[in-house]
């Protein structure tokens, strides 16, 4: 195998890192060139990811090692789990880039925006392919820093408030995470991500230390995954432009947190150890509480993006729940939700952006009759919302179905109750929006059919249809579900 | 060498007085004087140390003192110029 092929994760990372560097160097001039570079980088990344996907499916593992600190390496390692996250991010990045170009047309500071945007995706690629906790942390922090200028992009004092809250939470979280990583390092030396975990030897000798480390790692990552009670930054951050919300909620940030939790449970501690030390149970409880709490808070929000944000708080915890239940079926449900939730939530945020950009609509009660004015957008919104509720055969149903099966199989029937309650709550906060949009009469000043411009509508349609497709065609060979089944099979039969 | 050398006491005293002066004086000129007291104490100590060499006074500490004096004096002269500038800042260009 040639070195260049073996180093694929590095190329994937560099494709957006270099794009970022060039965009920063170009400055505010040359808007066309910038757009060209953005799209070219996104397409190139897609191709690279495709090549890698084929390789991993064929059983190849890509790995790159760079010595960083004495005794510690920067490891980029593409395995099946990485590919799940990478593919999602790469596809959604292309969609989000096109959307952002249209959304920010003629607004100031675009070079800065797109530069940091590319940097965010580069960091996400690093997180997805990180081969040890150290590498994970490096990119995790890079993501934190690169996202901040996007959150405060508008430069208003409200945006600054959101940026500050974002930083307080995420930097606090990463301090906790760093502490956990250093403790783990001093306890067990350098560790790599290995299916089944590497810490089984220490369970007998030092369970308290392991408990502390687990708590620190999960708390540190839980901040980005918006687990209650450290979710506060996410709803505040919705003041950012719509593409940034898409990035936060679907492409990168919360996913990075959830992905990290998956890594810690699967590849650092291992499922068996997590379960035998009793951590799995606790994690499941925290996730369940977040699911219910997020949905409840969502009901009372009157701002569309804020309601969607609380919905994310709730939905991302499905992933954590699936992992915490610690059996194959639930794991499938949780991991596949990583993709499903991403597609559905990005559709919803794209739609919210279309509403805001085309008609200046932010509050839910301004949505009356919007279905008639923007039928395509509203149709996509409906698809996303119904998927979130879990209507068969949409994507959300698939995830919840496997989660439920897993809960039954594991004998944890209370989880089924949580799922049902959550579904009910989802319906309570989504259905009224759909009712308003389709059945309420539009306001007086109805200016007839006025769809969003093609640059916004295109990505929205793409995301919405993709969300539909992953549910409808879940049984097919290349669907995310099939990939996750393959992955879980590998994870559970080491 | 049997008795207590009075100059050892004097050297220690000069250093201590200088440090005390540096701590309690506010005026920069007084502080500069205090620093020079410390310096003189250190130089005296070095000269005492030089005499402990069996073969006669040790030239190495003596050379150190000579170097030290020149450095101290030139730095003090610079300090005095700063004090003069501080006392009369208004005239003169912003060179």
């Amino acid at each position: 195998m040639s070195t260049a092929y073996q180093a694929m994760p590095l190329w994937v990372l560099l494709s957006s890192l270099l794009a970022a560097a060039i965009i920063f160097a170009l400055g505010e001039g040359h808007p066309r060139l910038r757009i060209g570079i953005n799209l070219a980088a996104a397409l190139l990344k897609l191709v690279l990811v495709g090549v890698m996907l084929l390789g991993v499916r064929a059983g190849h593992e890509f790995i790159v090692r760079l010595p960083l600190v004495p005794g510690i390496e920067l490891i980029l390692h593409a395995d099946a789990l990485s590919m799940l996250f990478i593919s999602l991010s790469a596809i959604l990045w292309l969609a989000t880039t096109i959307y952002a170009i249209a959304y920010l047309e003629d607004s100031p500071n675009r070079a800065r925006f797109f530069g940091f945007f590319s940097l965010c995706v580069a960091a996400t690629m690093g997180i997805a392919t990180a081969g040890n906790l150290f590498t994970f942390f490096v990119f995790y922090e890079m993501l934190t820093l690169a996202t901040w200028p996007l959150v405060v992009h508008r430069g208003t004092s409200k945006a600054m408030q959101a940026g500050r809250s974002y930083l307080c939470y995420t930097l606090g979280g990463s301090a906790v995470l760093l502490l956990g990583i250093v403790l783990l390092h001093s306890l067990a030396g350098p560790q790599e991500f290995v299916a089944g975990g590497t810490l089984a030897d220490y369970a007998g000798s030092n369970p308290q230390a392991l408990a502390v480390i687990f708590a620190l790692l999960i708390t540190g990552m839980g901040v980005k995954a918006a687990l209650a009670p450290v979710h506060g930054w996410l709803p505040t951050a919705m003041v950012a432009p719509a593409p940034v919300s898409a990035l936060l909620h679907a492409v990168a940030v919360v996913k990075a947190g959830a992905f990290g939790i998956v890594r810690v449970v699967y590849d650092v501690f291992g499922i068996e150890l997590t379960q035998s030390l009793g951590f799995a149970e606790m994690l499941a409880v925290v996730a369940s509480i977040t699911i219910i709490y997020g949905s409840l808070r969502a009901i009372w929000q009157t701002d569309l993006k804020r309601r969607l944000a609380y919905s994310t708080v709730s939905q991302v915890s499905y992933i954590v729940l699936g992992v915490a239940l610690a059996n194959p079926l639930a794991s499938i449900g949780g991991l596949v939700h990583l993709v499903h939730q991403g597609l559905m939530k990005i559709t919803l945020f794209f739609c919210a952006g279309c509403y805001a950009e085309t008609h200046g609509i932010h509050a839910i009660d301004e949505l009356d009759g919007i279905g008639r004015r923007m039928p395509w957008t509203t149709a996509m919104f409906t698809l996303g919302a119904l998927g979130m509720i879990g209507l068969p055969p949409l994507a959300g149903f698939v995830s919840k179905w496997y989660l439920g099966l897993g809960a039954v199989a594991g004998g944890q029937l209370w989880v089924v109750g949580v799922l049902l309650l959550s579904t009910l709550l989802n319906a309570i906060y989504f259905l009224p929006i759909l009712h308003r949009a389709w059945f309420k009469p539009p306001p007086e000043a109805d200016d007839g059919l006025a769809e969003a411009p093609m640059g916004l509508l295109g990505p929205t349609l793409f995301a919405g249809l993709a969300a539909l497709a992953v549910g409808l065609f879940a049984g097919f060979d290349w669907s995310p579900l099939a990939w996750v089944e393959l992955l879980v099979e590998r994870e559970y039969s080491p | 060498m049997t008795g207590f050398d009075p100059f050892a006491l004097a050297a220690a005293g000069l250093i201590a007085f200088g440090l005390y002066g540096f701590c309690v004086c506010g005026h920069p000129l007084r502080r500069l004087l205090a620093i020079n007291l410390v310096g003189n104490g250190v130089f005296l100590a070095l000269i005492l140390i030089a005499r402990r060499l069996p073969d006669g006074p040790d030239p190495v500490p003596h050379a150190m003192v000579l170097t030290g004096i020149v450095i101290a004096v030139s730095a003090t002269a610079f300090g005095l110029a700063l004090i003069r500038r501080q006392a009369r800042p208004e005239d003169g260009g912003n060179d």
Binding site: S174 | P61, T67, N94
Partner: protein, 480 residues
Amino acid sequence: MTEALPVLLVFVPFLAGLGQFVLGRAAPWCQQFVSGLNLILVLLLSSAVVHGDPVIADLGGWGEPLAIHLQADGLAALMLLLTAVLAVAVSLYAIPAFRDEPRPAWRFWTLWPLLLASLNALFLSRDLFNLYVTLELVTLGAIPLVLLAGPNKTVDAALRYLLFALLGSLVYLAGVALIYAQAGTLDLALLPAALPEGTLSGPLAAALIITGVLIKGAILPFHIWLPAAHGNAPAAVSAILSALVVKAAIYLLLRLWTGPLEPLVSNDAGQLLGALGATAILFGSWQAFRQSRLKLVVAYSTVAQLGYMLLFFPMAVTAAWQGAVYHGLAHGIAKAALFLAAGNILYYLGQDRLEALRGIDRPLAVSLLAFGLAGVSIMGLPPSGGFTAKWLLLSASLQTGQWWWTTVLIAGGLLAAGYIFRVLRLAFLQADDATAPHHGPVPGPLMAWTATALALLALALGLISAPLLDLLGEMPGGTS
């Protein structure tokens, strides 16, 4: 051949400075040659050091214990490397920064090579008294440079700096005298064997030397001269002062602690220095957070960042040694970038009050980027040299079971994030009117990009630490 390198490192810039003084007018291009040559010499020296034993030059050929020796080991080579890289960057930056002022420019181009020679001399010295002379050289080269910003507004800071520096070096000299009285030699390499055990003078000498160096290094509670001096000097000078001049004192402390003072100091003294460092980190960061002028924020940040290097002393293991020295490097590069970026802002706005920063993100995008990137290293976030250093220090603290330093390290990072983002936040806030008042032109590419290059280098230090730490080597005299 390699034996001549240390000598050349001192005398090439020294003679350049003398020549510049005689010339009587500014010749910036000469200095570019000198800093370039200096960098080449340092690279040659480093490659000689990394491939074998330390490079030693016996001045005058009188041998031990009489002659002064110049010696370059891993630690010295790293500090020389830092100095050489910053010398290149600062010399380039100073061309446009001093272009409009012929007379201060001449003085800058005279004093700066002399200071460069002094710094090189300090890092290369292997003699206690020679170190005193070089310490004085460095300080007395630095203070006139501070005055370049205009004597009227810097005279107070310069005077305070001078008084503390003089006191510090005399206290140090008192310690040196006592050491000579016991050991009969000033050579650092001979001292550990020559110092007798169980005397009263030994610990007293160590205490005096350490105190003197702490005063020179502006370590809390002796920091009070630093913010005014560093905050008011011209940007290029502030960068040199914060990145190199105070660092030189801490370097000396590291060198002496692991060398001649090793048998004289106790673990309690290490804990005390660590406590001073921790206090400096917390207090300095908090003060930086409270300042209302940009350059004072950066200056107080130096007070805090120097504290990290002191955390070596309580732990005294190789990881801590590497962490402290690497922190010195990373902070040097990042702090220089911060000061140069702040200098660009000052150049454009004509002032550096924080509330005036609103909306400068558009005209000064590159400088602001430099500020942010350098800030990453200051905060100790990855990937950056600051993070690598912090990681090493964290590992050391857990390795030695002194977990309390972990808390300090993490809290320090968060506080640093506080003051860095406070500045960025204001810069990103949009101005109410599009044309905010400003004083000067937008800084040219040379000024903007030297700052950015340094900031990028600070990040790159996080990726290339392996060869540098290899050059540094294990802690001298350490076991693990």
